[in-house]
């Protein structure tokens, strides 16, 4: 089956979970589909606005704001944007990354947050795709440095182990997230041009510095 044909179904949220995952992996390497998806999302958004339906109860607004207030201390503030165009790519800090990391470690992340972040990286038509050495994975990086690793060929992590992602900043490995099996993993750390992303196999829950051999390496240069 041609994965290009799934763009309309994806924009309408009409894919089975397996198809959705496969399509998201496909998006990472298909500029044509990312462009087409932008147009179709415009249409599905219009369908959403035209849905009709009743008004929400006033209590919903209060509940959302109250919950947001209670989560505030976990939110990492954004660094100020640098407005020089040349530096713009490096400017926006992926607060999502730090926030997602904090929330993961607190066990508060939901599937939805995960799906959101995947969508935002893979759905960005300006994202660049870098193939890892050996071709087992693609590293997708948006102009603001948000990144996802699309892992195709890899055995699931053995019991008691996790794959850990590292971003090398000035030669220092920084923790950037964990995953257990092939698929799409959103990095909890921004990737700047020229930086290298490495995956190692580590103890369950990850470690402070890599101990395993690199399983694969991708450069964002």
């Amino acid at each position: 089956m041609d994965l290009h044909d799934l763009t309309a179904g994806y924009a309408l949220d009409a894919l089975d979970p397996d198809e959705r995952n496969r399509y998201e992996e496909h998006l990472a390497s298909c500029e044509r589909c990312r462009d087409e998806l932008q147009g179709f999302w415009h249409v599905s958004g219009a369908l959403g606005r035209a849905a009709g339906g009743p008004m929400p109860p006033p209590s919903l607004r209060e509940r959302i704001l109250e919950q947001a207030r209670s989560e505030r201390p976990k939110v990492v503030p954004l660094r100020r944007r640098v407005t020089t165009p040349v530096l713009a790519w490096a400017a926006a800090v992926a607060a999502v990354a730090a926030v997602a990391l904090g929330l993961w470690s607190l066990g508060l992340s939901s599937d939805l947050d995960d799906a959101n972040s995947k969508l935002a990286v893979l759905g960005d038509p300006n994202a660049r795709v870098h193939v890892s050495e050996g071709g087992a994975a693609n590293l997708v990086v948006t102009p603001t440095g948000r990144a996802a690793l699309v892992v195709r060929r890899l055995a699931p992590a053995p019991a008691g182990k996790d794959y850990e992602i590292w971003v090398f900043e000035d030669g220092v490995p920084r923790r950037a997230g964990l995953f257990e099996r092939p698929g799409v993993a959103v990095l909890s750390r921004r990737v700047e041009p020229g930086q290298t992303v490495v995956v190692t196999l580590e103890e369950d829950g990850g470690v402070d510095a890599p101990t395993g051999d690199p399983i694969f390496t991708a450069s964002s240069a």
Binding site: H42, A95, L112
Partner: protein, 193 residues
């Protein structure tokens, strides 16, 4: 910042403030998009509590992700509705409560000002007019998928068609809708300038 000051900001500017944990910006975004979002979630789910859950999770997802989840080129309101819709169809599939019939006699969602309400109504009429121009089979596939929460393979079973046919109808229908909506927007633009 008081909410009065926020009224002149674009949705995208509000998202940037939400990214800095500005609670009043989140409240203003909810006031603009929350009603529509709930209407959409309710249309898919046909259950008040589940619709509230879908809207709450989408807005809190936005809050937690500090706006960075918004793709650079997407309209903020479109993106919020995308999140709400994704959550609503996931819930409706889990709860096995799909309903394909259109809603009858429900009030339109309320939004902030009379002006916004008029815009929303106009927008909705444009989309409904565009939908009405689609061939019946394309409109049926799109409505059952988007509002009914059916997957492509479920639609193939329900309509007794090969899945390739369902995919073609969705693709052709969305492509046509995109053209129709672009035409409408272009016409609306030139007639006001």
């Amino acid at each position: 910042m008081r909410s009065r000051d926020l009224a002149h900001l674009s949705d995208e500017a509000l998202v940037a403030l939400v990214a800095r944990s500005d609670e009043s910006a989140l409240a203003e975004l909810y006031d603009r998009v929350g009603g529509t979002a709930y209407g959409l979630a309710y249309r898919v789910l046909r259950d008040e509590a589940l619709a509230e859950d879908a809207v709450q999770e989408a807005f809190l997802g936005l809050w937690r992700s500090a706006g960075s989840f918004i793709p650079e080129r997407a309209k903020a309101s479109t993106w919020i509705l995308t999140l709400v819709h994704r959550r609503a169809v996931d819930l409706v599939r889990r709860e096995q409560r799909r309903r394909a019939e259109p809603l009858e006699g429900t009030p339109e969602p309320a939004v902030g000002s009379a002006e916004e309400a008029a815009w929303l109504r106009l927008d909705r009429e444009r989309v409904r007019a565009a939908l009405a121009q689609l061939p019946d089979q394309q409109r049926e596939a799109i409505e059952l998928a988007y509002y009914g929460g059916y997957t492509q393979s479920e639609l193939a079973d329900r309509l007794g068609q090969p899945i390739g046919t369902i995919k073609s109808r969705m693709f052709a229908g969305l492509t046509r809708l995109r053209e129709l909506l672009e035409d409408i927007e272009r016409t609306a633009w030139t007639s006001t300038t």
